[in-house]
């Protein structure tokens, strides 16, 4: 029941996002192959100065273990630094409202959340984070975590191309991602948001005249620059507790559209980058096809489920504009849903709707996106997940026809499959174990309402953390020691286990010589392969997660208990 203007709105937004993502993907492939780009004269001297300060040689290639070591250690150091900033923010400058330091467990959870690109917030930014913490702590991590995700994907992809066992230089990848991609993109995004009316000031509050005289004190800050990297870096932590539903962070339907496009940029760029980097541009399309099939089906279901909630049909109310409970009136329901769809499926985690009040169908579609993690998934890691799924699918397909499984001239052997299975199984383990403990401790202490609803909320919490998504379903009583510590650990493991696995697979592939294609080689740039991949991903994810979906959102759907 899509009106034509709605259709134009959705298609225009998605089309613009895809177009820009394609262009970015091609630019990124040049960037990481060290090929010349038009921006070199500007950035070469800057990068050289940075390498000199770091004391590193950006040309020295690294094996996967060294690459992983650099990645984990820089991330760990940044985590410790931000933990200290949050813990001691009461004594630090730029603290206009005299916000006290966070408790150790909340500081651990928050620092882990922003280091892992999750940005799950167990605190209200307006009243529990100082400007110092927001900028020098959290915003810094938003850049680092986004760059780390891209660097890992690039190293993984190099495994398909190189034959010397090397996956690239960590410092070169991370510096180039930051200076030539993230900072310029964030700056352009911030400018656009600025002109679209998003505030940007160092003042931490403003006075807004009230209708009857007097003033309303409103929280402000450098919102446009934060918003920009929040969306482009697939971080998703809000400058305000209400995140992208807050009128100061997302004032109009136009800014909503811009933010959707921003979220699409680096989540949809990797397939194009991949095709160029493995020197078979057509390899981009089976993956893009798979992502689009999974994502568009999800979107259509979301539109359908949010059109109305039959549960309230006994009341004399009309839902002609959709089920707007927990949604903002300055966006159409399809705009809110499109934002929420890309935000969750792209593992951004920004929210423009109250997720706890979505219909059960919509809640399960969002959970499904985080179970998949790859349609399109978070920056870098999302496409890495899709590649891991593809390797498994090719392995299974190869065994079915009795051929040695290979992809792009590289054999897929026990080494790769071991790491792929570890990645695949870590996700349900990281969700279900802490969930079981929380449920055993009493669901009524976690969330109010019917049991299936409270279960859905707790399930969403750990799913969002393990997928490094960061959107939250509420209201949930999650600023507790258990949820902070368990959640922090889930985010760290949910981030670094797949990352190390991707690097290990890339490293193992990179040591292999290339086998020339033969008649037995699976033709991967084909519609058949796309359908095979989609089927594989859906069946595996379904087998892993249908039971919890049945206990949570589906049980709500049949109104139990």
């Amino acid at each position: 029941m899509l009106a034509s203007s709605t259709l134009a709105d959705v298609l225009f937004t998605l089309g613009l996002g895809l177009l820009l993502a394609r262009w970015l993907g091609m630019y990124m492939s040049r960037l990481f192959q060290g090929r010349p780009t038009v921006v070199d004269p500007v950035f070469d001297p800057i990068d050289r100065a940075i390498y000199r300060i770091l004391g590193v040689d950006p040309r020295r290639p690294m094996g996967w273990k060294e690459y992983a070591g650099c990645l984990v250690l820089t991330n760990a150091l940044a985590l410790v630094f931000v933990f200290l900033v949050l813990f001691y923010q009461g004594q630090l400058p730029l603290n206009f409202w005299h916000v006290p330091g966070m408790t150790w467990d909340l500081a651990f959870h928050t620092a882990s959340a922003f280091t892992t690109n999750t940005d799950y917030q167990h605190y209200a930014p307006e009243t529990q984070a100082s400007l110092f913490s927001a900028l020098l702590g959290l915003q810094t991590l938003m850049f680092l975590s986004a760059a780390s995700g891209i660097a890992v994907l690039v190293a993984f992809i190099r495994g398909f191309v190189r034959k010397d066992g090397m996956v690239g230089n960590f410092w070169s990848d991370i510096v180039r991602t930051l200076t030539r991609l993230l900072v310029p993109l964030a700056a352009i995004g911030a400018l656009v948001l600025l002109f679209a009316g998003v505030p940007e000031t160092l003042a931490q509050s403003a006075h807004n005249a009230l209708l009857g005289g007097g003033f309303q004190l409103i929280p402000t800050g450098p919102v446009a620059s934060w918003d920009s990297i929040e969306m482009i870096g697939t971080n998703g932590g809000g400058y305000f507790a209400a995140n992208a539903g807050h009128p100061l962070q997302n004032p109009t339907a136009f800014t909503n559209m811009i933010e959707i496009v921003m979220m699409m940029l680096l989540t949809f760029a990797p397939p194009f980058m991949f095709g160029r980097m493995v020197r078979r541009p057509n390899e981009a399309y089976p993956y893009l096809g798979a992502i689009i099939v999974l994502f568009v089906v999800a979107l259509l279901l979301l539109f359908y489920f949010e059109a109305s909630n039959p549960y309230v049909s006994g009341l004399n109310v009309s839902q002609s504009h959709g089920y707007l409970v927990g949604a903002e009136s300055r966006f159409t329901i399809s705009e809110s849903v499109l934002f929420q769809g890309i935000s969750v499926y792209g593992n951004v985690g920004a929210t423009s709707m109250s997720l706890g009040s979505l219909t059960p169908g919509a809640q399960s579609v969002l959970l499904w996106g985080m179970f998949l993690q790859c349609a399109p998934g978070g920056e870098g890691t999302g496409f890495g997940m899709l590649l891991i799924n593809a390797l498994l699918a090719i392995f299974v397909g190869g065994l079915m026809v009795g051929r040695t499984p290979e992809y792009l001239g590289k054999k897929i052997g026990p080494d790769q499959i071991k790491w792929a299975i570890v990645t695949l199984l870590s996700h349900p383990l990281l969700i279900l174990v802490p969930l079981a403990i929380a449920v055993a401790g009493g669901l009524e202490q976690v969330a109010a309402g019917p049991g299936s609803h409270a279960f859905t909320i707790a399930l969403y919490e750990f799913t969002s953390e393990s997928a490094n998504n960061g959107s939250g379903m509420g209201p949930i009583n999650d600023n507790t020691q258990y949820f902070n510590v368990a959640g922090g650990l889930v985010m760290l493991l949910g981030r670094y286990v797949p990352m190390v696995a991707m690097l290990a697979i890339g490293g193992a592939l990179a040591r292999q010589p290339a086998i020339p294609p033969s008649t037995g080689t699976l033709r991967t740039s084909s519609v058949t392969f796309t359908l095979f991949l989609v089927g594989f991903v859906v069946i595996v994810t379904g087998l892993l997660f249908f039971p919890v979906l049945a206990m949570g959102p589906w049980a709500q759907g049949v109104n139990w208990p």
């Binding site: 038009v38 630094f81 020098l136 600025l194 009230l210 007097g214 309230v312 159409t332 709707m353 009040s357």
Partner: protein
């Protein structure tokens, strides 16, 4: 000599010397693996310098440059004071907003979460209570008017949600229903470019126009909101 080859698809210098087997494919399966590369720890200096540099560039320079730029580029909107937020309007002679989970307090310290699920008996009870509170028991009510937004600060409602309030506003004010109908119709904001965004009414602007029309000022019942 001919300069850069933009758009050329072949990479300039793949280290071919490292892959002698690339073309012939003569290596039998299972051999020809490159040696396991050596492992080196990154130096403490690189690690510390990278975090310090990152903090200075993205945590300090990036936002500070932008706040300064905004000061010159968009002085009117940079402070955020031009964006209307919801506020608590209880005067029956004015149009009302959607209910707020945080009582329209931007500094409530809480996220405004809708406190009930989609099939929760509380959803029905709360909605019924809101319908009674808004005095709309005898008409079909647009659901959004009697339910919370996500932010709890949304100043906007759908045109239908404004129209359904006209009888009450007319009853308590000196204005006729037809005048109010005209007022509501004039205050409808239309989609940007014809397709971005819904039709909606900014209640604060609508009430402002209504007060002007009545030559009335509201009793200053609103105190500056205390923080914490």
């Amino acid at each position: 000599m001919s300069g850069r080859t933009v758009g050329h698809r072949r990479p300039p210098r793949e280290p071919r010397e490292l892959s002698p087997d690339l073309r012939g494919g003569v290596e039998p399966v299972g051999t020809g693996l490159a040696p396991d590369p050596p492992f080196r720890w990154p130096s403490a200096r690189s690690l510390v310098a990278s975090v310090v540099l990152l903090t200075l560039l993205t945590g300090l320079a990036y936002p500070f440059v932008f706040t300064e730029a905004a000061h010159y580029l968009t002085p009117a909107t940079a402070s955020g004071g031009n964006i209307t937020l919801g506020q608590n309007i209880t005067d029956p002679a004015l149009f009302w907003l959607r209910p707020s989970g945080i009582d329209y307090q931007p500094y409530s310290g809480n996220a405004s979460e809708v406190p009930y699920g989609p099939v929760d008996p509380a959803l029905l009870n709360e909605t019924k209570a809101y319908i009674a509170e808004y005095g709309l028991t005898n008409v079909t009510v647009p659901l959004e008017l009697v339910s919370q937004s996500q932010s709890g600060l949304d100043p906007d409602i759908t045109p239908e949600a404004a129209l359904v309030q006209i009888p009450r506003v007319a009853h308590f004010s000196n204005l006729s229903q037809s005048v109010l109908l005209g007022l509501v119709n004039d205050s409808i904001v239309h989609p940007t470019g014809g397709f971005i965004g819904p039709q909606y009414v900014d209640v604060i602007a609508l009430d402002q126009a209504l007060l002007v029309l009545e030559h009335r000022t509201l009793a200053a019942s609103y105190e500056p909101v205390p923080v914490r």
